[in-house]
Structures are given as structure tokens and as C-alpha cells.
Symmetry: C2
Subunit: 396 residues, 2 copies
């Protein structure tokens, strides 16, 4: 099945951190069901451990073992499990009279694709479309539950994605519509996603805001909603979205910085975006079939070399040109006005930056999911190989 021909370059050593000290209950959560990684796997062999699924801080099984995904048919009830867990959590908090925060992160639509029997073959878009339909149904059931419990008017729901469509997955990934390239890149197809905010009685339904934002803004938004003050002893990147959500105000000064690894690749403010670096992926990776921009070719904008444009950034007016096809001429009046203005935004941003120790440079097979917390209780511990850290190739 196409859906399982996953040849992406993600390595299992990365992601959120599955070691005990990084698990959600050590970071403010009271409950946890799910996994700290997506579910690509070795599937049948033990050369790498399958990804564990946790309840709270203990694993309760592994993908492809206790949590089945059928490679041949694409059938799995994982999304249904995530839906049920979400609904149960809401019911329990409601019964106890608690306010609650549910961070609902099903992993469907990530490769390898799956959907439950009721959704298999139901979309025109193949297994990817089936998985999207099932997620959509899950969101609908969660909203229905909030309505049924009569707490909808007191619940703020924000729906979003962590990145643009996985274009390298071809028909098994999403669509970037009019945008350039996809996930892994800092072109619009990789970074720009719509989001949906829902709060009956507070957020006007059916309206569109052009406010730029990022996931980091949700922290600040939530702190403000809770009536607390934003910490003043450090730079907080997020800015509250409440003016946009509640009053349809747009902050035109709000800038978005596009990072890839440790490098700031681009900046956007208002309709203007300047690329300081351009890069799709290495030609060596591309020629082996990993294409972040299938069917697209904008010469001089898409580059297989990591190309430094700092001396004369590639500037786009995303209003006129959402597809980043027609750079603004660097001899134009607009360029001469906009670039210095964006540069001062970047300077200000970099001034406040305290570089941390990069967390993604080193890989170590020993830190994979051999023996996660709880494995001994269910007899799912695997022998841990010797620790041999090595510098990872940063392919994306």
C-alpha cells in the first residue's frame, strides 16, 4: 500500500522527548494518553523499537504491537481511541466541576496513513482524505460534547496544525493549495496554515482575520484569558491573539520569523516576506526521490543549495503573490523602503535572542524507545544498546 512507503528522513531519535523527565506529567499536565513521537516504525523487526503509547507516565503498549495499524488495508482505530479519550476527559472534568485544558493531538494524517473501518474509502482523496474525514468527525464530536454539556459558551477551542502539508508524501500528503513547497521548508507551503478559533458567544462565527500568529501566541493568549500577568523577567515570543479574536483588530507590526534548524531563514511582517536564506533540500536527497516541492519550479527562489541572500534578501509581496513566484525587484522603490524596515525588525529580534544549546544536533541510538518507563510492568522492555552519540545529518 502506497501509504506505507514512508521514506521520509525523520529519525526516531528526535521529537518531543520520551525520556521520563520530558514526559507531559513532568511539565504541568495532570493526565496523558498518547505518544511523544509519531508512528513511523520498523513495524516488524527489532532493529529499532516501535513507538510506545503512554497512559500518564507509563507505556501501555507500542504501535504495531498493542496498538494495531494494518499495513495492507490502512485500517486502525487509533483516531477513535484519541476521540474517546478526549471525550472521557471532558466528561470527567465536567462532572468534577473543574475548569480544564485539553491538548488533543491525534497523530492521524502523519505517515503511515490510517483510518478506522467506518472511514476507509469514504473520501475521494484516498487514505489521506479518509484520515482527514475521521479527524474532522472527531473535532465535531468534541464540539458536540461541549454543547451537550452546556459548557460551549465557556470553552475556548483553537484548531491548528504544526506545519504545512507533507508534500514529499505526494498523494499521501496534504495540499499546499497556491503556496510554494511544503513541510520542512520555510516557503509559505511549509509554514503557513489557517487556524480556527471557536468560542460561542465570544468569538464571532464565520469571520476571517488576517492577523499573523504562531503557536507560541497561544501561551500568551491563554495567560491573558486566565487573568494572569505575562512574566517580565524574560523575552516572551508569543503575543496575545485576543484583540484579533474578540475585537477583530489586526496588529500590522506583528512579525513572524521562519527558522529551519538554528538558522533564521526568513521574516514576514504584514504582506512582505524577505528570505535571508533559501533552501529546499540537498540535491543528493532530492535525486533519491525526496521532493518537498513536487510539480513546482520557481528558479532562483527554490534552491537545492543553502543559499545566503542576506546581502540582498529575496522579497515577496504575499498579498499580490502568495505563491512566492515573483520576487520584488531589488532596484524598486518598494524594495528600498521595505528591506531596511524588515531588517530593523530582524535586528530587534536577534538582540533579544539568547542562543540555547542546540537540542537537535546529536543523535544516539541508545536514547530510542527501548525501555520506556512502565515497560517492565507489561514485559515490553528491550535491551538498550551502548550509548554512542553522533552528529546527526540535518536533512531537513
Amino acid at each position: 500500500m502506497d501509504g506505507n512507503n514512508y521514506q521520509g528522513s525523520e529519525t526516531l531519535e528526535k521529537h518531543l522527548g520520551h525520556q521520563e523527565q520530558y514526559l507531559p506529567l513532568n511539565h504541568g499536565f495532570d493526565e496523558f494518553f498518547g505518544s511523544t513521537n509519531c508512528h513511523p516504525g520498523p513495524f516488524n523487526d527489532k532493529s529499532k523499537p516501535n513507538i510506545p503509547v503512554f497512559r500518564d507516565s507509563e507505556m501501555i503498549g507500542r504501535y504495531y504491537e498493542e496498538f494495531e495499524i494494518n499495513h495492507e488495508t490502512g485500517e486502525s482505530n487509533m483516531t477513535q481511541l484519541f476521540i474517546e479519550e478526549g471525550l472521557k476527559f471532558i466528561d470527567e472534568q465536567h462532572t468534577a466541576g473543574n475548569p480544564f485544558f485539553l491538548y488533543w493531538t491525534p497523530d492521524a494524517t502523519h505517515l503511515p496513513l490510517y483510518a478506522s473501518n467506518a472511514f476507509l474509502g469514504q473520501s475521494q482523496r484516498g487514505l489521506y482524505g479518509d484520515a482527514v474525514m475521521e479527524l474532522d468527525s472527531g473535532v465535531g464530536r468534541i464540539l458536540d460534547r461541549l454543547r451537550d454539556l452546556e459548557i460551549a459558551n465557556n470553552t475556548f477551542v483553537f484548531f491548528l496544525s504544526d506545519n504545512g502539508a507533507a508534500t514529499y508524501a505526494k498523494s499521501n500528503g496534504g495540499s499546499v493549495g497556491p503556496f510554494l513547497c511544503g513541510k520542512e521548508t520555510t516557503y509559505e507551503g511549509g509554514m503557513r496554515e489557517p487556524s480556527i478559533a471557536w468560542w460561542p458567544g465570544k468569538i464571532k462565527p464565520g469571520i476571517v482575520s488576517h492577523q499573523l500568529g504562531s503557536i507560541m501566541d497561544l501561551f500568551t493568549t491563554a495567560v491573558e484569558l486566565a487573568g494572569l500577568n505575562i512574566p517580565q523577567d524574560r523575552v516572551i515570543d508569543g503575543k496575545s491573539l485576543l484583540p484579533a479574536l474578540l475585537k477583530q483588530q489586526v496588529d500590522p507590526e506583528k512579525a513572524i520569523f521562519y527558522y529551519r534548524g538554528n538558522e533564521m531563514m526568513a521574516v514576514r511582517q504584514g504582506l512582505y516576506k524577505a528570505h535571508y536564506w533559501t533552501w529546499t533540500n540537498f540535491y543528493s536527497e532530492f535525486k533519491h526521490g525526496t521532493d518537498f516541492c513536487p510539480g513546482q519550479n520557481v528558479s532562483g527562489v527554490m534552491t537545492h543549495q543553502q543559499t545566503n541572500r542576506t546581502d540582498s534578501p529575496l522579497l515577496f509581496n504575499l498579498g499580490l503573490d502568495p505563491g512566492e513566484k515573483y520576487p520584488v525587484s531589488n532596484s524598486s522603490r518598494i524594495f528600498k523602503v521595505v528591506i531596511p524596515s524588515l531588517q530593523s525588525v530582524v535586528d530587534n529580534h536577534k538582540k533579544g535572542l539568547k542562543p540555547g544549546v542546540p537540542q537537535l544536533n546529536y543523535c544516539d541510538t541508545a536514547v530510542m524507545n527501548w525501555a520506556p518507563p512502565g515497560c517492565e510492568k507489561i514485559n515490553k522492555c528491550l535491551p538498550i544498546p551502548e550509548s554512542k552519540p553522533y552528529k546527526c545529518g540535518w536533512g531537513h
Copy 2:
């Protein structure tokens, strides 16, 4: 202004026919305001006549002369004129107690772009976006009028476009979203457009139908709505859309034939589309800057040569692959089942075809708008050059 750098290859000799025998009042219409051509023009000189604007069967002026479009600012009140004419027609028919058919065809969004003062600079999308906003406002005013006159429940409104986005116009044309290439081609970007049907009380609002259709279906739909019978003495290409519109039924057998000039380039039935010929535009045209597929490159699918694929058509599953990027392998089971089935649809279609005399092969400067009917009354006749028909280059 960018909007006026119109270098498309459309020739003024073509289009609907501005000679007296082709004017709307000789083809069933009772009134006419507008033009039989779009408005590219020579603008200031008389090497070619500017396009006339008619009322009924007589010209009342010309674009860029009596009907102003400011090249520098992009300002023109043409769309407002079209809106006012539409509203006036509705009012008059309503007052007289007549049923009516309004075919409302403003020419804004075609190059060279324009918008009226109230809309100039109002969109994020430049002059093209301004023009779209003004059209949108016009549609809104027409629907409001139908509501105000309390005839909305008795009025069938169908909104559509004659072709996909003019991608060759770069930022001054529309977007094809996820589709391949644009106007002039038989890839999805050239031929596939959504349409909107509105009929309060009869057509359920807010639903989506995947029924394939074409403008030809509106004839048959209108005949059926009027309670008349479809003529049986000839093949009628259109099929009534009423089952889709009123009962949410989809006819999966309905096929669409993609023509370019006199050649059937492709066929679609259900989710499958087979290209019998592929062609973007001649390389000679492309290298001079006319690009129907800017930023796109799907090798083997986009061809600058007119490429005959009849022996082994290029097959796409448009459900899985709306962007026509991943041809279905011609050794696959699907290919072997679908291609013969599509071929029989094509055979059946061609069996019923009675080739006419091609109307687009010959050009003649003498038939341009030198002296349209009515010109003498307003002293706008120009001397007609000698008739010298020549074979036109069919650039698109």
C-alpha cells in the same frame, strides 16, 4: 501600471461576433448592454479600433473613449455601469410583472485590470483583488435586489466563470490553487471552476456537489425548469443539473470533454481524467514570456510540443491527485480497467459529432470594429480596410 502590460495572444478578430447578424437581439435577447469582446485595446491610436460598447443593437461608444479606463490608476466605473444596468433591468421586469432572464457578464478581472474608486486599493491582492471585490459587491447587490423585491424564492441564480485563472498574467491574474496550469490549457487549472447556484427555498444553502458539469448544461437545465421538452432532432450536449441542484444526486457517468481549438485533448468521467493530447504552449511563445504554468513543472505532463498520447493516454485520478502530478502507471490494473472504459465514452461522443466549419481558423482585419451598427449616429465610424482573410496562428 502592471495591469496594462497585456502581452497575451488574444486577437481582436476573434470572440463572440460583433457583426450585426451575431448581436444578442438577433439571438433571442430583448435588450443588451455591453460588448461582444473584452476590452484589450490599442487605447490611443487607430491602428486597430477600440472595442465598442452597445446598447441593444447599436454602439453607444468605445472603451477608452466614451467608456473610460485610466491606465495609470486602474480606475474605471465600468463594473458600476454593469451593476446599475442589471439592477435597472430587474426593476423594470418586476414592475411589468414579467418573468425574466438576465445574463450578467461584466468584463472586469480580464486584463487590463480596473476597479472603481471605492474599490481601488481595498484588497490585499492588488488591482486584481480590487476588481474581484467589486464584482463580488455587484453580485451581492443583485441578490439583495431580488430579496428586496421579494422574488428571491422565484429566481434561479447561477454564478460561474468561462475558464480558469489567467496565470499568464502573473500577479494580475487569478490563482489556480492546487491545479495545474491555467486558462488556454486543458489541464485542470484551465478548465475547472467551481460554480455557485442560489435559489432560496429550492436549493439547499451551504452544500457542495461534486457533480461534473459545463456551461452547456445550463441550456438543458433552463429548458427543464421552464417545463419544455429538450429537442430530439439533434444531439444536445448539455444535461440538466436539476437532480444535482435540487436533490443532491450525482450522475457518475457524466463525462466532460476538454477541447482546445478543434482537438479533443482530454476526457474526464468521475475521478478519472485521460489526456489524449498534452500541450502548454509553443516554446517560441513561452520563451518570449507567455507562461501558462508559472512556477510549475511536471515533466512528461506539461509539454511545449503538441504531444499525441492517444496510444497510451496520460491517466490521472483527480481525487487522489487534483494537481495532475502523478500519472497512473500504464501497467497498473486501474489503467487497464479505466482506459478502455473512457475510450468507449470518447467513441460514443465522437460518433455523435457532426464537425462544423471551424470558425476560428481565419482572421480578417476588415471584420474588426471599424464601423459597428450605430456608429454613424454618434460619429464613431472608422474607415474599413480592404478584406484580406488570412489563416490565424492558433497560439492558444
